[in-house]
Symmetry: C2
Subunit: 331 residues, 2 copies
């Protein structure tokens, strides 16, 4: 067997028979031999088959579903995704982006926390494929895939108005987050269009986990004139609201309508109406943009907006002043 054949096997090149491949791998294992990946990458023009994804929070299923969608599409092109979490920390985001670019990833996906990405200008000019997900980049033009946040929030608000509600709350995320600002805008505009005089009366923001959301919803419900319907701005906030509305499934408060932005597992069993969207389609679209840019780096930046859909499951269809029969309202 020639050295060239062995090299082909160890570089995972095609046109080597299965038995040869196995023999070379066995010999390489026995010798403790490993291909020098860095050298191999450099020989391919310095670009690896690895693609990086800097997510916001690895423990949020939104990001892992997104990663799953990206991954599925990349595999068709022989690319492998590696994911690292900024934990929504601006400095860590930059460190990770730098570390992945320095390692010559074939492409980079970023679900950004920072507002300024102008430090990536020279990479973009060099044609490095960088795609922003969920939130747009700051200070640069780059391929971006976002949700139609305004339309989704507006549709949810109109849906609640259609059930007769006028006192409608928005339980919202941190105001510095672009996605929340968009959702808030859609919500407020829809209420104003419906003739509601003070659309911001029940807007609460700064909620960023289920527990702070639970407390905020309890405070809203304790008002002298409480809201009769609530839009929760993301999956974590919806969970908190459910704990406020639905304490351990006993004595569930069924007189307050609820729509959650983001679908989530078991929302069907809990009958929670949501603003849903194809999260894995979002990831796939981002992966397609990256692959297209690898192939034609000169193109102008593309923006893709993923539509949302209102999924009615019960909680958003509770009409004003008409609690479900036989279910006592608590509180």
């Amino acid at each position: 067997m020639s050295l060239k054949t062995a090299s082909r096997v160890l570089n995972n090149e095609p046109s080597v028979s299965e038995s040869t491949r196995l023999k070379v791998r066995a010999a390489a294992d026995a010798l403790g031999f490993r291909r020098n990946a860095v050298a191999a990458d450099l020989a391919r023009g310095g670009v690896s088959r690895l693609v990086g994804f800097v997510t916001g929070d690895i423990a949020n299923p939104f990001y892992s579903d997104l990663a799953s969608g990206i991954e599925r599409e990349l595999r068709k092109h022989g690319l492998q995704l590696i994911t690292a979490s900024s934990d929504e920390d601006v400095d860590r985001e930059r460190e990770l982006i730098d570390a992945l670019i320095e390692r010559r990833v074939a492409a980079l996906f970023i679900a950004p926390t920072a507002d300024d990405h102008s430090y990536l200008r020279s990479e973009l000019a060099d044609g490095v494929p960088i795609v922003f997900l969920d939130r747009p980049p700051g200070g640069i033009d780059a391929d971006t895939v976002v949700l139609d946040n305004r339309a989704g929030a507006a549709a949810a608000a109109r849906h609640l108005v259609d059930q007769g509600h006028r006192r409608i709350a928005l339980a919202g995320d941190l105001p510095r987050l672009w996605t929340f600002r968009e959702r808030r805008e859609g919500f407020v505009n829809a209420l104003r269009d419906a003739g509601i005089g003070d659309p911001e009366r029940y807007v609460r923001d700064g909620l960023h986990d289920a527990e702070t959301a639970r407390v905020a919803v309890e405070e809203l419900l304790a008002l002298d004139e409480p809201p009769t319907a609530i839009l929760t701005a993301n999956n974590k906030i919806t969970q908190g609201a459910l704990r406020a509305l639905h304490p351990a499934a006993r004595g569930a408060r069924r007189d307050v309508a609820l729509v959650g932005f983001d679908d989530f597992e078991l929302a069907d069993i809990l009958q929670v109406s949501v603003v849903g969207y194809e999260v894995s389609a979002m990831g796939q679209e981002a992966a397609r943009l990256a692959v297209a840019r690898i192939e034609s780096p000169g193109e102008p930046a593309h923006l893709r907006v993923v539509p949302t859909v209102l999924i009615a499951r019960g909680s958003g269809e509770i009409a004003l002043a008409a609690p479900l029969e036989g279910v006592p309202a608590v509180g």
Copy 2:
């Protein structure tokens, strides 16, 4: 400013003033300059500050919670986690392990799918820190963190026996998975110890997502002598069982007791009793083993077993032939 100072800044070394750091970064950005990470890593003895984690399925919250626990601990040591998913494919697992080792990660975490990891023998002999998570390695000794799967499943089975149940089902995962084989063993032994003659009568396996689990549970409940209690072997199977037992929260079937292995979000609201454990503690323990091995590579391999705890929330405390008052049984 000396070249040495610039180099210190770009290598994130301490003892540089904040204003100097900002100046150097700005100049470097303007010039499109990037540190050569590979060269810097080689200068540190060829090892990077990146740590790899090969997970089974990135979309399963079990793995993302694990990654989150690992990450929190690693950051204390200035290490950054990157995650890649094998999608429970044996060949992809090996490719990823190879790719990460070739890139000289500082340590490697593996939630393995494969049965044979003997190809890692030379790396282990060289002191490369490799920690196996959730399932042990095959064919080698290496640091490992697993759950006490047998004790957890046995405690759940005994708990159901204590409520008077004798016909107890196990809705199980793929039999090739070590975790499931352990859980099955714990379950079967506990029923046998309780004097139940045919403990395997209601054992079903091969379920690997919520939908196949839902169908299997519906089939169990349609038997002439159906089980009166069910242990579901993981979070996905529990979800499927809930869909069979609890269709859209209306006419919920409350005469079948249920305990799920793995806690999950909203289990409190759904009143589902589970076999829980500290998943982030599991990740932290694994990270500690890796850091210890970086510091003293010669040590023998350690095995850490994370305890489980039965969390009673209602569904597992339904006694035999005593459905909750006022809640009609369906089916």
